[in-house]
Symmetry: C2
């Protein structure tokens, strides 16, 4: 089994460390949660996964010790994490567009319901941040995914065989500066810049929708640069809670960037996480798209 092989790859010193017992990983959708689990194992931590029904991918999580949970089972979550001996918790993965009927509360959750509905109304990420708060109130430490699995962070430099051209780097710098300028207004983690012109700004629609917009406008002849010019730029908003809201890239990002006709993907090194890096980089190379981590502004 692939996982066991990996665990055997880890030096015994690291494996015996087991700082705070196993880490509980609350898993939303996508490939990131299990990438974090694998990264934690490599780093010598054991893990217990708590995948959320309807979002987490069975095929991926079933390779790890896990207990399925339903969205809204706050107390049960805490109890399961305690039973597994966890003192530290990571929340990772998408919980997009939950419908009210997907919420399953237990009797013990009743006191939390007003907060839960408020968070629910906030959509997308708010249930996750409310869940984090409940964990902290129960004495758990909530960690960022990158704290237990540093390897999921995009490093500095080109990840695949292509490097950004000078024009691409100029677009990337423009994008990082624009994201920083929008910081005080809590606007998106991503922009598309082409020929020093900002074509799109991500707000609550998310990166995939923003890239779909570029692809659509290109089909309508509304993009003022030819295919192969332009960069998707991602960086955390200044002041963002890096524990459960780091921007992420993965194979889907490459597919969307290709459809949008851009040259590549520029992210802030050490501040953006990557899901399924091998697949992503293979696809990026095949599509002649660069993927690169840029140093922070001060070092650029």
């Amino acid at each position: 089994m692939k996982l066991e092989q990996r665990v055997q790859d880890i030096p015994p010193a690291a494996r015996s460390e087991q700082a705070g017992g196993p880490v509980a990983i609350i898993c939303g959708g996508g490939a990131l949660p299990t990438a974090v689990a694998e990264g934690a194992l490599r780093a010598g931590r054991s893990v217990h996964l708590l995948p959320i029904e309807g979002w987490a991918e069975p095929r991926l999580v079933e390779r790890f010790p896990h207990t399925w949970i339903k969205l809204g089972q706050f107390r049960r979550l805490c109890r399961l994490a305690q039973q597994a001996g966890c003192r530290e918790v990571v929340l990772i993965g998408k919980v997009l567009r939950p419908s009210l009927s997907m919420l399953r509360f237990g009797w013990s959750d009743l006191p939390l319901l007003p907060r839960a509905f408020e968070a629910f109304r906030g959509g997308d990420d708010r249930l996750l941040s409310m869940t984090a708060a409940v964990f902290e109130e129960h004495g758990f430490r909530v960690l960022g995914a990158h704290e237990v699995a540093p390897e999921i962070l995009v490093p500095e430099g080109a990840l695949g065989s292509l490097s950004p051209a000078e024009r691409d780097s100029a677009d990337a710098r423009q994008g990082f500066a624009a994201i920083a300028a929008m910081g005080p207004y809590d606007i998106g983690q991503a922009v598309v810049v082409a020929d020093n012109h900002v074509l799109a700004v991500e707000a609550i629609e998310g990166t995939d929708d923003m890239l779909a917009r570029i692809a659509e406008m290109r089909a309508q002849g509304r993009i003022p640069v030819p295919r192969g010019v332009g960069v998707l730029v991602k960086a955390p908003k200044p002041g963002q809670d890096r524990r459960f809201d780091l921007p992420a890239i993965g194979p889907q990002t490459v597919a969307n960037v290709r459809r949008a006709g851009l040259a590549g993907i520029a992210v802030q090194a050490g501040e953006v996480v990557i899901a399924e890096p091998e697949i992503m980089i293979r696809n990026a190379d095949a599509a002649r798209i660069f993927v690169a981590g840029f140093p922070p502004a001060a070092e650029r």
Copy 2:
């Protein structure tokens, strides 16, 4: 005829002024070009319209002295304006998504073709700005629509029967500040702000597409505020060429704001133009949507 009645309404002093002869109005699509023509007549200027085939609306322009032109006929444009005795030119109205087959050059335009294709590649507004440059090279003055028809500018205060609530005004201030912060990066003229949270930022997709995005996300349950909360905020980008690129609102904006479920429309007074104000305000009142001009930041 409505137009003649209007001309008779103008005080003779104003009508006899006729500063630089008739003003040539190059008309793209929408109701704004003829609103400008009427405004100019009211202000005592005579006009000669040069509507662009495929964009200008025959029903509207045919009430004025006019000569139809085709996109790309740069020299003919200059000749027609000269023949009509015009020394001043206004370019107004949408020229969205022209296809290459809609361009019609004359022999005398040959030297301009490289620039024209470059501008064409730029899409949307760039052909307009190139046309303005050609006019200036031929000794014309290019004026902003509001310079010949000040009445098309949104004044300060509520335009319809509804005023913004305090929450709406706070959202509007947040939006104006965000647009100002994005100024150095030449990003959009519009944002949607709800409960002090920026939901969308307009880049090259335009206001209509941005509002459609909000409507779509609302249908998907992805908007974190209920219907009736949130404001469309429009202001010119700092440093924008106000002669032919002022942000505009009109009945279409009201229809889109209604679909997006927002409370109203906040624009920077004196810096945003309005098309078909009577229809727009009637529709806004019917939909319980406020439309208001806000003073510049220093006076807010």
